[in-house]
Symmetry: C3
Subunit: 657 residues, 3 copies
């Protein structure tokens, strides 16, 4: 595999006279890919039907002429004003009932059939015009689905679409009433047309109602993406269809969207995400303010590697300070390089920086680029150059495929929706729970794969972890039964039926021959009221009262005697949310049993196995000595004294490093 670098570029923002020079500089820097076009609708079609593609063709020609491969974006994240004025009911509506208007981006409702047709029209026009252009290597559909919380809309279009979706799903109002339990508060409907959207209710809406609305909304994103992908495939043979996902965005099922993509990509902004989307405390945020959370990028690398069955990119890589977090510090020297290499360590094909030149105008004028607004090289430029050079040096050394990781975590978007609908305790958040497990595995030096909850393949994993799963898919239950590695289930896994009800035999709803355990009662806890566990550590936020069958073994108990971790054979169930150290200990024990060799790493050092190599990354501000981990030889890249922001790669030998 050829690992490549790219950049995001907006020819429409700059004088045409500058394009050739920009393209030449990109190529000289060692970039091979350039993404363009995704916000340019008003320039591509200034008035209805008045297509103006010539400038885009000249831009593509120029970039192609410089040897660059173009990723062309469909411009559907920014419908122009004339279109919105034609069909104002295409605008999304917030949960508070306010129309979300024109003036920024993503001002459309996924449910709106009329807008969907417009998107198909412009996509078709672009695909016909450029589908077979030799400079076009790939397409990006739209841009960052769900960014600015745009999956959910409470419009008339959404209401009509949801009612039709329910009719297809349930066929009869009676079936819906039964599934949702609408008898509870006289919420019964006699007709699908009576179903309202679940916002603006006096108190909480029926969780089954909300859950179906979340599924519907996710399906609308899938429909929207597929409509474009189908057109592109028909008219641009051999080109990859890509979408650029965001970080900690769970409002739609990325596996389902990914099924219609060739390549999943994502937009990686480590500093912005730490500031804006992290559950960590202030000390942690201070410690990593210039580096980003050491596990956040890796998490998404691993997740989006899974959503398109292995092929994935970083489409937008933070190159310097951004503009959108509450605070926007500058990356520590070397971090842009580290982030770039980390993507490759997790198997990325292409790592693309956002953006070429900082735009001095409009919303993102404070967002750094590889170039400053005055076209001078910014800090990120030089780090990208170093990565380009190092990629060349290592070409041929690294394996094509990352290979199977040590551990699989089942990741399931509907579970995120479910616990957002019904946290039961303020802190219960699916991402936070899964991320705790992920970080603990990484603290042990393990590499992780994610597998989906509905169509999982567990084969080859010595350890499978399933935290907080909403409901069992038959496929997953079958896969667990067939699995001969270790499995750790819970907390809260299997605690609902697909209709958002408590399973008849109580959670976790596992067959007794697999694991005889029932959750008799749960409680949620204030952060200052954890439940102490015998032998040390605590459960926080969430705790279950487990009842076990005779053949089930209790491995850990709370100090009040309630079983905390139980097992039958290789199948384990965890009845609470462990604090970080307890979780590390539990996973350490399971890893040992599973024959995985682990080693506790400091917070700022992380490893990633890729084929026959191991990468090491230092997110910290002080050096780390890799010989402490048994690295006996000089690495292929970097040195055993892993500098701040340092990267090292070594070859796995039979005896380890």
């Amino acid at each position: 595999m050829n690992r490549t670098l790219g950049v995001c570029y907006y020819p429409e923002h700059w004088p045409e006279t500058q394009w050739a020079d920009d393209a030449a500089r990109m190529a000289r820097l060692g970039l091979t890919h350039v993404r363009i076009g995704e916000f340019a609708w008003s320039r591509l079609e200034p008035r209805r039907g008045a297509y103006d593609f010539d400038w885009l063709r000249r831009a593509i020609d120029t970039l192609h002429g410089a040897g660059l491969k173009v990723v062309l974006g469909t411009p559907t994240a920014t419908p122009p004003k004339w279109l919105v004025d034609e069909m104002p009911d295409m605008l999304p509506v917030g949960a508070d009932g306010s129309v979300r208007g024109f003036g920024s981006r993503r001002h459309y409702d996924f449910s709106h059939d009329g807008y969907l047709e417009e998107c198909k029209r412009i996509t078709l026009a672009l695909a016909r015009a450029f589908g077979e252009h030799p400079g076009i290597a790939a397409w990006q559909t739209d841009n960052e689905y769900d960014c600015h919380n745009t999956t959910l809309s409470y419009s008339a279009a959404a209401r009509a679409g949801f009612q039709a979706w329910l009719q297809r799903k349930y066929q009869s109002p009676d079936a819906l009433n039964r599934a949702w339990g609408t008898v509870f508060w006289s919420m019964e409907v006699a007709d699908f047309g009576e179903v309202e959207l679940p916002n603006l209710t006096v108190t909480e809406a029926n969780p089954a109602h909300v859950m179906d609305f979340r599924r519907y909304a996710s399906d609308m994103v899938v429909r929207f993406n597929k409509a474009q992908a189908d057109i592109i495939r028909a008219h641009s043979p051999g080109r990859d269809v890509i979408h650029n996902f965001m970080g900690r965005t769970l409002a739609f099922d990325h596996f389902a969207v990914g099924a219609d993509l060739d390549i999943s990509s994502w937009d990686s902004y480590p500093l912005g995400f730490l500031e804006d989307r992290s559950d960590q405390n202030d000390d942690w945020k201070r410690q990593f303010a210039r580096a980003g959370d050491p596990d956040f990028q890796a998490f998404h690398h691993d997740l989006y590697r899974a959503t398109s069955k292995g092929r994935w990119w970083v489409m937008e890589q933070q190159p310097g300070p951004v503009n959108w977090a509450p605070h926007n510090p500058a990356p520590r020297d070397g971090m842009v390089r580290l982030w770039s290499w980390e993507a490759f360590a997790h198997g990325a094909e292409t790592m693309s920086y956002f953006r070429w030149r900082q735009a001095p105008f409009a919303q993102e004028q404070m967002h750094a680029g590889l170039l400053r607004p005055d076209s001078i090289e910014a800090e990120g430029y030089f780090e990208a150059a170093q990565v380009a050079k190092e990629l060349g040096e290592l070409e041929g050394e690294l394996d094509d495929k990352a290979g199977l990781a040590d551990v699989a975590i089942v990741f399931d978007y509907p579970s995120a929706w479910a616990w957002e609908i019904q946290p039961q305790g303020r802190e219960f958040d699916y991402f936070r729970l899964v991320f705790d497990f992920y970080r603990s595995l990484r603290r042990l030096g393990l590499s992780v794969d994610f597998v989906p909850g509905d169509t999982p393949s567990l084969e080859g994993y010595r350890l499978v972890v399933i935290p907080g799963l909403f409901t069992w898919s038959p496929a997953l239950l079958e896969a667990i039964k067939a699995h001969d590695g270790h499995v750790l289930i819970g907390p809260r896994s299997g605690s609902k039926t697909a209709d958002f009800a408590i399973p008849q035999g109580l959670p976790p709803a596992l067959p007794d021959d697999l694991l005889g355990v029932r959750v008799a009662r749960i409680e949620t806890l204030r952060a200052d009221t954890p439940v102490p566990i015998q032998g040390g550590g605590t459960f926080q936020f969430w705790r279950e009262y487990l009842e076990v069958n005779a053949e089930t073994e209790t491995i850990l108990s709370a100090k009040d005697g309630v079983p905390a971790l139980v097992a039958k054979g290789n199948c384990h169930y965890l009845g609470g949310w462990p604090d970080a150290d307890l979780l590390l200990e539990i996973l350490q024990g399971l890893s040992a049993n599973a024959g995985l060799s682990v080693r506790e790493l400091p917070d700022e050092v992380r490893l990633r196995r890729h084929g026959h190599h191991v990468f090491a990354f230092n997110y910290g501000a002080t050096p780390f000595d890799l010989t402490d981990l048994g690295w006996s030889r000089e690495p292929l890249l970097g040195s055993r004294r892993l500098e701040p922001s340092g990267v090292a790669v070594t070859q796995l030998s039979d005896a380890g490093y």
Copy 2:
């Protein structure tokens, strides 16, 4: 009096085949009452006029057949969809102008005449059908008025109703203008039709305007309840009419609603209320996370004993973890029993658990019942069984009536509205202030009665406490003048006229022959800026500058010399909000003067006198030795070593315990 236990049950949630078994189990457990029906409108009338009462009759027959007494709820808290679609303007409107829609419960506007007629219609139909059924022991009107903040609505119906209410009250716009002082900011109206609702104003609305709107809204709740009560009384002779109030709910006048009830009841959720509705700090919440605030339940027991002149129930008692607070821990073992006994100690006739079986579906699926969703007994079941057994053992030992308490607190709902409208300092909340006084009296081992501010009877109380009273009713002033016990007034009492203005002669507007004191100035204070009092302690949040007549004695002063507590004879005025220890000291002194014997209790131990007996309760996690309080004999129930969550009852002798 026969003390009894009950439970809430929803036959419509379960297969009919299960009803008989459920009923038999209830009876075996020792329950005698079962509340049903209050959310079942969509099953009782699936389409307009298509009544289906047969299933309900079969359910009542089944329960009655098992020896249970049925409390039948009117289903008006959950109007069905077809009804809402017929008259969408029956929906309530929030202060932000948003319609609060169908999809949960309480989606109706108390002001809507059309909906009121519908409620009368369904109530009449039910009363005619079941009013004389031998299984029907009582009726519950609607469910939890004001729950989810539904007293106030800003709809067109509310506006029209408010205007008509004002016309009746003031007769002429001029009278309204004078009463409100609308000249202040040119807010004068020439016609009642010009009066707007007091929401969505540019800055705060006129407090007199808001106060009348609050009175109006409260009157609408009274009207709504009375309409049902009248119908039930006419068609169900001899049955009690009950409503189930909530905790810390002050948006309507419960005395006024209670006047139309035979029995006040309330829904007691100690752990949820501590998490969600307490002013206490985090340490306190942690300490009592599994027990509830030691005074919160007692407060409401005492309050709702007053709202129906002595007869009261707990209609819903928390049996395990609930689903609606930010965190929902499990009660400590024994607490469900303790809560049950505490209700009886305060004079409850019936203590009813919510609910029989945890519903595995819809909004409250995470709310525990006496049974788990799989019909196995949950923890609460066994504690209820113990209470049933103990009730049998003590039958005949306890007095019928609680008798007069040691101290009376004047409690006045309009005062709560007034200080919500005009706190003047962020922390000034009527409930919080009264609760501080209540807790301090309880820390001294005293028992408390509440009396209303408009029609109080103070006879027989050695000490009467009147904190934060909005305005004097003539009746209360007369009662104080006639009273020969001690009276403690203030802070802020009598500080307004009924028209929400400062009284001409300044607060507290007491006749000089009663107590010659004027509040010359008030100030409100940040929590970190208390006013030190000579001899120790502080005023917090609120402090008055008192001027006193010559014949008025100054008992306490602030360190800056301003009088803090003044008196003339038995009448005292307190010019600030004392911290907990200062308040304890003040009340201790007054109690001594009043001839009340007191003893300081630890935070977690509380006493309640009931007729010739005293109950002791231990909300703490460690034992408490009741001999420290002079309990010389073995109690009738429990032992002198009061275990965690323990209950004890002993007989009062002339020499004390």
Copy 3:
């Protein structure tokens, strides 16, 4: 100059029989001015066209008869109900799209042409009726523009007005598109009618778009005020036109409004502002809870002295506890006097108390007056009396004019809008930044003038400070070039073009011959992540990476080597937001270089030079010895032992004090 005292009075609130007595008492107290009428529209015109001016004439006659000078307010801040009902679209609309309704005050939209006409009509009627009345000394237009955030409105009227304003400014949509950079997210418009207001967008709107809307909204305030001023001038010759501004109110350009006034005044509520509008921490707020922030009043005195070129008043002075802050403590004894004298120290002509008698009704019934509601003198009365007496004693001693201060700060309202639109870091607030500089200069005992950013005169100032300036006006750049004193620029100054874009050559966009520095990169920082500076101190919140030319000297650097303070000759640039002590040190150094003699004062002591005198004020609760500052003689007022809340005035000698 005759320094005078005044008061605010509402004859319409009191029986006419009381007016003469009130007027006589005012005169006896030593007041000379009385402001009336500004909320009385409903009494002046109870129905359309039915003017009733007789009562007002009698009131003016009465006050005038007692020797008082009347300031007559136009009543346009409180349009009456009949007018709002005639044109409901005159109501302002919040950013959330909600109409802000009748029922308090300021319920009008500055953009509404119909309401503007109504205001001209009532102003004309009043001006014709009273313009030449001998009792009328001055007029106040409206009341507290922007109070309750009323500058910005998102109504249909605002939309239409904004579109027309844009058309005048840009002439063609293309010019607008270029200026705003609408190409960025396909935000291009083909017609001015397509431009929406910048609220309710999906994510942030284009900053250039918002900036123009802010300019437009400010212009509407100017238009509104000028319309009244023109009418008054035409019909009330020789009377001053005044408006009463508020504290920390930056939503419109007070210089632009001030250009149409004879006198700027403001409403000074030191305790309310400390509680409600201060960036200081809780310790500071506790320390000064009864005194107010020692620099906040002075800041606004200096600012509003500038907005009308020197003539200014305090129109409303806090006389005791107010009603509108989260907490409303009583002023420490003496503070009302101190605040009064401080206004005169900063050059006020008239200091007017709000209000004569506390109104016992409506919204402000908890707001103290000079009299209590029962007409007894309140605390503030006696302090006002002392000021009146002292003013008499010092008459003739003090200079007429304050004279030029030591330091000029450039203050620029558009900069406040810009950084509100684009803070980039959560704490970046223009007022907060400028106030930090202002306080540091005051800690050094310096007196400060403010000068506007667009038409500044820097002549005579030894030190000019320009923090956080949005963009350079040509006039300011010229003034700096011509200036021979010291200049300190930055942080963030000159960082934008007028079109809200990054300047081509990068900030601070200074000519290289003035100062060769470029901001290559900026970053914003969490409060817990400051940047340490060599030699001590830190940059907080905001830090720039400076590149300097060879001839530019680096005076201070960060510990990581990045230049922090650079200079060429007398022109300095500061590349970050210094903490308080570092800022003090920097300004101390610059002052020394500029030949200004400084002396560090404790937090609670402040000095103000006025002509040939220096005033000293003690905001603290302990005495301060002024001999420590070299005050060798007994002061004209007060003593060298400056008591808590004390004031002292001494004459400047050549040798200092």
